[in-house]
């Protein structure tokens, strides 16, 4: 019922509008513009997603292999700070990136002889996307990096008795038997499934 109200009805409305629009307007211009926009959107999203994963994976691995030295114990805090952007509005991040890019713009322009424009370019856009969506990429990579690893068994075996080993094994099995979709849906900041 809720699905019908929240998803199917609006979808039907959109479909009828789209069909009307397609039958009444000139398809030539629409096709030309539409393909370009779709390519732009998909290209931006693919680039941003790849960038976010490329940045998030090293953080997740550093966090997993962090030792107990004074410096490395601060890593979780740093990772939390790095993924704070997801809680901030996109507009605020855009303004922040613009404020950062504006003073740098002149310097970079003169250094590269006018070849590289920093603000209102792909650089700033990708940087904004990275700040905004690092949390998502980081959480899912961190969950996988922490997941069912053999070192967890090893540590529990070395540090505690048999009961602890069985407990760890039971919880690991429970985690691994959890449906995949729930774990993906749980990969949001603040909602850790573990």
């Amino acid at each position: 019922m809720m699905l019908l109200l929240a998803f199917v009805l609006p979808l039907i409305q959109l479909l009828t509008w789209a069909i009307e629009e397609l039958t009444t307007t000139d398809l030539g211009t629409l096709e030309m513009v539409f393909g370009q926009y779709l390519l732009n959107t998909a290209g931006l999203s693919a680039g941003a997603a790849s960038l976010v994963i490329a940045v998030a994976l090293p953080i997740a691995y550093a966090l997993r292999h962090a030792g107990s030295s004074n410096k490395e114990r601060r890593l979780p805090v740093v990772a939390r700070l790095a993924t704070l952007g997801y809680a901030v509005l996109g507009l605020v991040i855009a303004l922040g990136v613009l404020l950062l890019a504006a003073p740098l713009n002149e310097t970079v322009l003169s250094m590269t002889g006018g070849a590289v424009l920093l603000s209102a370019s792909l650089f700033s856009l990708m940087y904004g996307y990275l700040v905004r969506f690092l949390a998502i990429g980081f959480n899912s990579s961190a969950q996988e990096a922490e997941g069912h690893s053999l070192t967890v068994y090893g540590e529990s075996r070395g540090g505690a008795g048999r009961g602890a080993v069985q407990l760890t094994q039971a919880s690991l099995v429970a985690v691994s038997q959890e449906p995949r979709r729930r774990r993906v849906a749980g990969a949001r900041p603040g909602v850790s499934s573990r």
Partner: protein, 67 residues
């Protein structure tokens, strides 16, 4: 390991696909995306015309999320 990377990649892809405010402010000149197109049409009260881009966004994201 690989499943986590793919899941994260797809989630970020879906979120950037429909991201509007940051894209409007930071995009290069003349670069339009589907969400910007939709908001432009909506601000001109061309509700019927917004159907096509928004339908594409909805369908692509639904497919990727279910997948």
């Amino acid at each position: 390991m690989r499943a986590g990377i793919i899941a994260g990649w797809l989630t970020v892809f879906v979120d950037t696909f429909k991201e509007l405010p940051a894209t409007i402010f930071l995009r290069p000149f003349g670069m339009e995306t589907l969400s910007i197109w939709t908001s432009m049409l909506a601000s001109e009260s061309a509700w019927q015309a917004t159907a096509i881009p928004s339908l594409v966004i909805v369908l692509a994201n639904t497919f990727l999320t279910v997948y």
